[in-house]
Subunit: 274 residues, 2 copies
Amino acid sequence: MTRIAAVQLAPVVGDLAGNLDRAVAAVEQSVAGGAAVVVLPELATSGYVFETPEEARVLALRPDGPALARFAAAAGGATVVVGFAELADDGVYNSAALLDASGVRAVYRKVHLWDREKHFFAPGNARPPVVETPVGRIGVLICFDLEFPEWTRIAALAGADLLAVPTNWPLGPTPEGERPAEVQIAIATARMNKIAIACADRAGRERGVDWTAGTSVVDAFGALVAQAGPGTGTAWADLDLLDSRDKRQAELVDLLADRRPDLYGPLTAAAVRR
Amino acid sequence: MTRIAAVQLAPVVGDLAGNLDRAVAAVEQSVAGGAAVVVLPELATSGYVFETPEEARVLALRPDGPALARFAAAAGGATVVVGFAELADDGVYNSAALLDASGVRAVYRKVHLWDREKHFFAPGNARPPVVETPVGRIGVLICFDLEFPEWTRIAALAGADLLAVPTNWPLGPTPEGERPAEVQIAIATARMNKIAIACADRAGRERGVDWTAGTSVVDAFGALVAQAGPGTGTAWADLDLLDSRDKRQAELVDLLADRRPDLYGPLTAAAVRR
């Protein structure tokens, strides 16, 4: 079994040093608790509700700089996925790093930017990385990416056992007794792809935006096995990530082999009818 | 508002005449209740748990024959979607007809066959039809098709406002207090595509198989607005199907326009890594 820690934090926009300290401490605590995989929220180092592109740029980090090195130093034997604003030569990206004690192993740049993120970030142009780790293959995508089934399918087809999803889910209207829509989507995505999913969300409020605090771990059978609850905290789950390797659902059912890519075509935007 | 009736029946395998009588009566009652769209289960005329291909063939119907004409005669001003075993020159298909008082307007042949259906039916080779009706555009797919997000996306991209989904969901293990996985998938699919979904399921037991009795209507915002409950019955919902036309979710968010088909590629099976 692999212990997953999906950590719900409450970053403070602009407080780079404090956010970094709290995020690194969360990794240390998760590793001390036995986690082999630690997932932190989207933009955990910078905060989210920017007022200007310049503000996002000032808070952005180089992946090869000292900030992310602190996560590697705290990782022990675990794999860590953390969201950060990435400073690149050609712009600022809403990114997530997958790293371990050896350093940064992959950086993913969010492709599906949500709402005003389009003012502050350049969109990524590469598919989600799927990285072989000691406990299984981890795919990385960020928040709104999860709501594009093409994107999660691509990660599943590339062999991901677990999707690590840093998120910042703004609190939306949810009927009494219902789960947040994003959690419903995680559950359905796990089930449709036979893939585990760990979403690390935010808690609290920032510049008038309330967060869902929806941190959740879903197993490969689509069962919601852990949540962080309100406030900061951690969703802990012990999963066999290799469950994701067997896509059979019944004697003659295989969730990926039963696809009909001959009929799907490129799913191009040109097909959109308005 | 458009009144939808998703009807949960309990067909008896082999009792073609009785199944047909009960299904036509359900259409008459739905229309009398004000339904503008009536959805009946998968294989509503034949039953589901076949023992041999020959049994399925004997129960199969020609779409232009007298059986489906009875549904057209009962349709009044409504559009009816009904699942049936289809007899064609090149085989037997698990099909659904969309029809109205003018007759059969479209026949869809299930593309993603589930488990032992592969023994009894030939797979369809065409995309879901999306048919313009007086109340909006209705897309038709069948049961397991709903669990392939490529397929539902294709229907959404083709402009469907409502997915009409005849189903036969065998009862699977569902944790206490959870909804059936198929209903979770319907909810998430509605939300990801901003599309309404009406699933008509079966009740009862047939040759040792229990059914989920999960008949559900989900609105374009992903809210589960009606269920039929246990036993035979109808899920009634009044929806504005035109809600599905506006894919915006926030000022700068459009669920279809924000897709990145330039990065999706053909999602081919060749990409599968085992």
